[in-house]
Each structure stands twice: as structure tokens, then as C-alpha cells.
Amino acid sequence: MSPKFTRKGNNGQNYPVCYGEHVLGGGVIRLWCRHQNLCTPRWIVGNYYISIDVRGSTQQVVKMMKFMLLFSRQGKVRLQQWYSATQEKEKKKIMRELITIILARKPKMCSFLEWKEYKIVYKRYASLYFCCAIEKGDNELLTLEIIHRYVELLDKYFGSVCELDIIFNFEKAYFILDELMLGGEIQETSKKNCLKAIAAQDLLQEEADATRNVLEEMGLP
């Protein structure tokens, strides 16, 4: 087994520290070298230690997409959808840094970039930047096309969509995104089905509103 982490000993040799880890259930099991000083509880098995780290209930859920951001050329956020549990402070930091990096890129450059542990795919449509963060092993071109599909849906729904439509009706943009992607995974790839689902919701919304207006006119609650 080749060690995962090593440390340098006094004589300049490399000592293995941790041989590997495995996420299991609500925690992480690690296999350590016996000569390592560990403060966490451990079991001794032959020449190895086994330790179990119980993380908080937040597990590393490996999803296709980590988050999707829409922002204007001035750096104003128009939509943010996070598919993993992140603290508010962390979210703000990521957004700030990422927006600066993307706004600094020239038009001819790649639509993909590697930033920290994420792979970022972005595309500019008129005055809006659509930006997604995906797993390292994912197909970047496919994500670019998901963004394009989302824009097509918005276009069909709003009728020649522009940034103002998204500013004033951002909740509708969220609903449309929820029909395309759920939990960071692609949900429905047929344009017609997505729009049908949203139309169904809107239709019932119209009926509900109409009934409510009628009731209000009649003076009933």
C-alpha cells in the first residue's frame, strides 16, 4: 500500500503516516501507521491503527454540480443555487472570489477553469454570466450545454429573455432551474417536458388567483 500522507523523520527518511481513508456511514475510517502519535481514539490491528472520525451530519455528498451562479457584468448576483450545504460566510467568500476571477478573463479564453478544488464552467450571454462548479472528473462541455439548455428554457418561457426579466422574476427563474436540475443532478433533458411542468404550475396558479379575486370581490375571505 502506498501511503497517503508522509512526514519526514529526523534522519531525512519518509515515514508513512496515513495509508488511506474511506467515508462510511456518518464518518471517516482511516488507516494509520503504528508509529504515529494519535490523540483520537483508535484500535490497534497488527502494525496499524484504525481510527474513526465521526464528522457532523454534513457528509461529503458527491454530486455532479456544486453550485450555479448568475451574475451581471458589474458583479451583481442575479441567481445563486447551492447544491451542497455551505455556511453563509463561505458562500459569500466563494462568490466574491469567483466573480472577480471570471470577470477578469478575456473573451477568447477557455470556458473552463480550475479553481481550488472545483472545476468552473462559465459562459456569458449578453450581460449575464452563467457559472457552474462541477466535479473534477465531469464532462465540461456537457455542463456548458446544460447552461445553454437553461438559457433556452428561460428564453422560451419569458419570450426573448433579457437580464431585467431575470431580475424582476427571479423566483420564476429558480422554478425553471428546479425543473431542469434537482439536487445537483440533471433531472429532465426534454425541453418540452420541462416547460410543460412549469406551465402546469402556472396554470393552477392562475386558477387559484382568479378564484381568489372572485372571492375577494364578493367580500369573502
Partner: protein, 436 residues
């Protein structure tokens, strides 16, 4: 019924504009806010406007009798403030209440606000369980859909036992949109707590054969993770996946799924990834898929990005499975197309594909040397990084000094710490391997 749908779809923009008055169909207050922000001259003034808005909303929300409709408008403004980065923790409980009590429209906004404000570890999530349970049991399909969407966004491990039986039930629902959302919710459950969904693997297989292709496509997500976890158990499905792939490329799915003349590209890519995992290191499985992979390589449309996306995935699959020389040759030729294109995106993918081909077909990099050198000198940083990675993997005893020189020169020019540490690791590893 469908005719009504078409007509509604056509008149949707008109409906929206007529709703609630105002040109964009939003409340007066929201409109004034956005206008003010748009016209503000400085960051200072914008801050002032936002602070005023937040305190106004806070004050309004403490009033006792707010109608659901009014609450919905206030929540929309709250979400907007949250998006611009202001703290609106006082509004969380109201969002929860609206998701619980509101009619269809308000419930939708309530759920949206909750999924944006909270996350799965938040302590207020527990209050949502009851609401979701009620919605899942409702006879109104839209309530069920909203509940399932919220489940996907907000579920935590403790909540799974309470909601699992109801979600499982929805797999047999007559409406395909419900079945689709149910399978996605179960996928989330599986990712969070695989042991809790052990008993329903059989049901997943049934969903794979669902008559609606949308539902089948959604089930591929969960199969990808199932197979990643345990390949052996699902080896028998190789033929099924190869068959589905054949049908998809043959255009058996309806036209709805075609995207820029490529039939159901996302489904194709998912299937390719799954096939890649099933075939890796297993001769018999790989043989079952050679025919369909060959067909995919032939049929890929290359006048649009999405065709390239499918081609790229196919090349990746071919390199992952048990090697077949004819297929590999074809794949290497296709990579040439990527590298010769003018788009940086495609060249980036070409380099990545070359990198993955190296272990199986070591001579392939030699053919495309010129292009690789060109990419190295490209001003685009992302492309450079990927080419450096390729060079590192191509290192043999003959070219090690040249490549190391390149890496070191790049190290001195870059300012990014991640890249620096990465380069240092690579250089030291090369130095260890070829100590001359």
C-alpha cells in the same frame, strides 16, 4: 387537455404581465426597490437603500395579521436582499410558515425561500418535516412535486426515515413527473445514507425500464453511483445499458429529447459513463459494448459543441475499458479533430482526452506533438495548465530534462499558489524517478 396547455404556454407572457398590475407583474414595492438600486450612484447609496429595505421588511413582518398574498411579496423581497448579501435571519421562520400554510402560489414561494435560506444542517429544518409529509400525502400533484423538490434540496440524514416510505411509494405514481422527482429524491437519500435504501435496489431496476424516457434518464443518475460503489452486483445490467444506448443513438426516443440534432445527449453521456465503469478491466463486459461504442464514434455529429461533448465522453469510455485496438485507433483519430479546432474549449478537451489515452496507447501523443507545443504557448492559462499536466505524464527517460525545464520556467512565472504547489510536487516526483 394538451390543447389548453399549448394555449396557456403561448399566452404565458401576457398572463404574467397582467398579474398583480405593474409592467412586469411584480408588486409596487419591489419595483421601486429595484429601480432605486439601479439608479443609485454609489455603493454607499445602495447600502443605504438596502438597509432601509431590510429594516422595513423586518418591521412589516412583526405585524400580526399579514395575508398570505402579502407575505409572499415580502418574502420575494427578502430573497432579493439575501441574494445581495444582507442578513435576513429574522425572515426564516416566516418562510417556513408560508410553506406550511400558503395556497399553491404562496407555498411555492415559501418552499423556494426556505431552500435558499436554510441548508440541511440548520436547526429549523426539523419544522419542515411535517409540512413535507403533508404535501407528499396530498392528492394535488403539484403539492407532491413541491414536497419532493424540497426533499432533494434540504434533506438531512436524520429526516430520511420519516420520509422514506412516502417517497418510495411515489415511484409507482401514475404521473411521470412525480416518478421522476421521486427517483431523484431517492438518489439523494442514497448519497446521504446508503444503508437506509438497501432494500429498494430492486425497485430501481424497475424504474430503469420505465415507459417514460425522462424517468429512465433520471434513474441513470442513481445507477451511476450504485455501480461506482459496487460494480460486481450490477454486471448483469451491461447488456441492458448497451441496448438502451443503441436505441437512443438509433433515434428511438421522441423528438423532444433531441438537442441540436443529437438524440438525448445527456442520457448518452450518462450511459457512456456507466458503460465505462462496467467495462473497466473486464473483458467479457467490454466485448458486449464494442459494437455500440463503435456506432457512437461513427454517428457523432461534429458541427456543434454537444456532438463534441458526446464524442469526448465516448473516447473516455473507450480508454477506460478493456482495450480494443480498432476502437482505440478510431478514438485517437477523433481526438485529432478536437486538437485541430480553433476553439480553446475543444483544444482543452483534446488535451484532456490525450492525457487519458496515454496509459493505453503511448504513441498517440507523439502524433500530435506540434499541436501540443502550440497549446503550451497559448496565452490562455487554463490550456497551459492542462498541457503541462499532459507533458508531465508523457515524461520518459529521453525527454525528462526538457520537460522539467518547461515546468520550472512555468513555476517561476505563475502566481497562483495552488498551481505552484502542484508544479513543485510534479517536479520533485520527476526528479525522484529520473535522478540524473
Amino acid at each position: 387537455m394538451t390543447e389548453v396547455m399549448e394555449r396557456t404556454l403561448a399566452s404565458l407572457p401576457m398572463f404574467m404581465k397582467g398579474e398583480l398590475g405593474g409592467p412586469f407583474g411584480v408588486s409596487r414595492g419591489f419595483q421601486t426597490l429595484i429601480k432605486a438600486i439601479g439608479e443609485s450612484q454609489s455603493k454607499h447609496e445602495e447600502e443605504r437603500i438596502m438597509k432601509k429595505e431590510v429594516s422595513y421588511l423586518q418591521q412589516k413582518l412583526t405585524q400580526p395579521d399579514i395575508s398570505n398574498k402579502h407575505m409572499k411579496e415580502l418574502l420575494v423581497r427578502l430573497v432579493y436582499c439575501n441574494m445581495l448579501g444582507h442578513d435576513i435571519t429574522f425572515g426564516y421562520i416566516h418562510a417556513l410558515k408560508l410553506a406550511q400554510q400558503g395556497g399553491l402560489v404562496e407555498k411555492r414561494v415559501g418552499y423556494l425561500a426556505v431552500s435558499l435560506f436554510l441548508h440541511e444542517d440548520h436547526e429549523l429544518i426539523m419544522l419542515l418535516i411535517n409540512t413535507i409529509q403533508k404535501d407528499l400525502k396530498s392528492t394535488n400533484i403539484l403539492h407532491v412535486c413541491m414536497g419532493l423538490t424540497a426533499v432533494c434540496a434540504l434533506i438531512s440524514t436524520e429526516m430520511i426515515p420519516a420520509l422514506l416510505p412516502m417517497v418510495e411509494d411515489k415511484l409507482q405514481h401514475p404521473k411521470e413527473v412525480v416518478r421522476k422527482k421521486a427517483i431523484m429524491a431517492l438518489h439523494r437519500f442514497y448519497l446521504k445514507a446508503p444503508n437506509m435504501v438497501q432494500h429498494i435496489h430492486e425497485k430501481f431496476r424497475k424504474v430503469l425500464c420505465d415507459r417514460d424516457p425522462g424517468v429512465m434518464g433520471a434513474s441513470l443518475n442513481i445507477f451511476y453511483d450504485l455501480i461506482k460503489e459496487d460494480v460486481e452486483k450490477h454486471r448483469d445490467l451491461t447488456n441492458t445499458f448497451a441496448c438502451i444506448m443503441k436505441q437512443v443513438i438509433g433515434g428511438k426516443l421522441t423528438n423532444d429529447f433531441t438537442y441540436h440534432s443529437v438524440p438525448a445527449p445527456w442520457i448518452q453521456v450518462q450511459l457512456l459513463r456507466i458503460l465505462g465503469m462496467l467495462g473497466a478491466g473486464h473483458k467479457k463486459n467490454s466485448e458486449q459494448m464494442y459494437a455500440v461504442l463503435d456506432e457512437t464514434l461513427d454517428k457523432s455529429e461534429i458541427n456543434h459543441n454537444i456532438g463534441y461533448a458526446v464524442l469526448y465522453e465516448c473516447v473516455r469510455t473507450v480508454t477506460a475499458i478493456h482495450p480494443n485496438p480498432a476502437l482505440l485507433e478510431k478514438a485517437a483519430e477523433r481526438i485529432g479533430r478536437f486538437l485541430r479546432s480553433h476553439s480553446n474549449n475543444l483544444r482543452y478537451l483534446g488535451i484532456t482526452a490525450l492525457t487519458s489515452m496515454l496509459p493505453v496507447l503511448p504513441g498517440v501523443a507523439g502524433e500530435h506533438q506540434l499541436v501540443v507545443i502550440e497549446c503550451l504557448d497559448d496565452p490562455d492559462e487554463t490550456l497551459q495548465r492542462k498541457t503541462l499536466d499532459l507533458l508531465y505524464r508523457m515524461t520518459g527517460p529521453t525527454n525528462v530534462t526538457v520537460i522539467c525545464d518547461r515546468l520550472i520556467s512555468h513555476l517561476s512565472t505563475t502566481a497562483d499558489t495552488y498551481l505552484q504547489s502542484d508544479l513543485v510536487t510534479k517536479i520533485t516526483q520527476l526528479a525522484e524517478r529520473y535522478p540524473s
